[in-house]
């Protein structure tokens, strides 16, 4: 469907989970197309109430999957990995629909996978000093998870909640079968480390969100912190196969 040039040597898919993102989705798709013309783009419309699906389709640059029921970020992302697994993609990149992730950084993100150095590459806002500033409660949450992962697997991830990440074929297959729910980024890191995949961060620049609001309120973030901590702890002590 989408013509492929020889720029990327491996079949690569950008998975964008979108829930009510009609304002930003088109510019995100165009920005990816500009930065990586050979990358296929997949939008998972997670039961949006607005025109996200129509707007994304109208760009003609993306395949759009409409979930008939809202599944949340975990279920939506897993749908993307299922698609990637069944269409034989070798690399899948997760990108947020709100314009926080700069597609210009995709090359850095994918390079370690193309060369076979890493299985999963995570874009971090905090690895090096960037202009990015986040709200203090967000920062506390991120620091908490950094500490928790450090404590559990003895490795430091400066931005474990980052949804800007690239994975290779074995991980695509793993995620198609099993992907954590609700707030899956932190859990996925622990899961991958437990499965002995090579995971590392690269420094990327992130923008403040362009449109829409974060779905995370202070009370919700406390609930998520407890819930994700439990899930991470369970992931640490069980074997997922």
């Amino acid at each position: 469907m989408i013509k492929r040039e020889s720029f990327l040597s491996m079949k690569t898919l950008a998975i964008i989970p979108a829930f009510n993102e009609e304002k930003s989705i088109a510019s995100v798709i165009h920005a990816i197309k500009r930065a990586q013309p050979d990358m296929d783009i997949l939008i998972i419309n997670d039961g949006s109430k607005d025109r996200t699906s129509e707007v994304a389709r109208a760009t003609k640059h993306a395949v759009v999957i409409d979930l008939p029921v809202n599944l949340g970020i975990g279920g939506a992302m897993q749908t993307g990995y299922l698609y990637a697994a069944r269409h034989n993609f070798e690399i899948a990149v997760q990108i947020d629909a709100d314009g926080q992730h700069d597609p210009e950084a995709l090359t850095q993100l994918i390079a370690p996978l193309l060369s076979g150095q890493l299985d999963c590459c995570i874009g971090s806002r905090f690895l090096m000093k960037t202009s990015y500033r986040s709200a203090w409660n967000r920062r506390v949450g991120i620091l908490f998870f950094t500490w928790m992962i450090q404590w559990m697997i003895g490795k430091t991830f400066t931005d474990p909640t980052s949804g800007f990440r690239a994975v290779n074929r074995p991980i695509i297959e793993l995620f198609a079968n099993y992907y954590p729910e609700d707030y899956p980024e932190v859990e996925a890191v622990v899961l991958l480390e437990r499965q002995k995949f090579r995971v590392k961060e690269v420094s990327v620049l992130m923008h403040a969100r362009k449109a829409g609001r974060s779905s995370i309120t202070p009370l919700k973030s406390l609930y998520y912190m407890v819930k994700v901590s439990l899930a991470v702890f369970i992931t640490r002590i069980r074997n997922v196969s």
């Binding site: 999957i65 409409d66 979930l67 599944l71 279920g75 897993q78 749908t79 299922l82 069944r86």
Partner: protein, 115 residues
């Protein structure tokens, strides 16, 4: 009317409702069996309250009816745990079902636009 007669009537009504629900196929057999067992145990104990005394005595429970409460509570807890297990399993299956439907819809759309 004393409490034992009331208990027996209550048990009979309970068993009747359980049987009726199974007959109308509103209750799956796996759960029906549990509810029926509970109904019959309760009926037995209210018909022969003397049964309770030796059991509670051997467990060093001085007030026999509290054994009933204990059994009831344990049964309820086990049943709720079982139900949350069933719900979790259903949730997983439903998620996969929604994903498959969405993927199929996309495939169908692709086929239609090609032809």
């Amino acid at each position: 009317m004393n409490v034992y007669v009331l208990a027996i009537i209550f048990c009979l009504v309970f068993i009747f409702i359980a049987v009726e629900l199974i007959r109308r196929q509103k209750l799956q057999e796996q759960y029906a069996i549990l509810w029926l067992i509970l109904g019959f145990v309760m009926a037995l104990l209210s018909l022969f309250p003397g049964l309770l005394d030796p059991i509670s005595h051997s467990l060093h429970i001085y007030y026999a009816p509290s054994l009933l409460f204990l059994l009831g509570l344990l049964f309820s807890l086990a049943f709720i745990m079982h139900l949350t297990l069933v719900i979790s399993k259903l949730h997983r299956k439903l998620t996969r079902l929604i994903q498959e439907v969405a993927l199929l819809q996309e495939q169908l759309r692709g086929k239609e636009s090609n032809s």
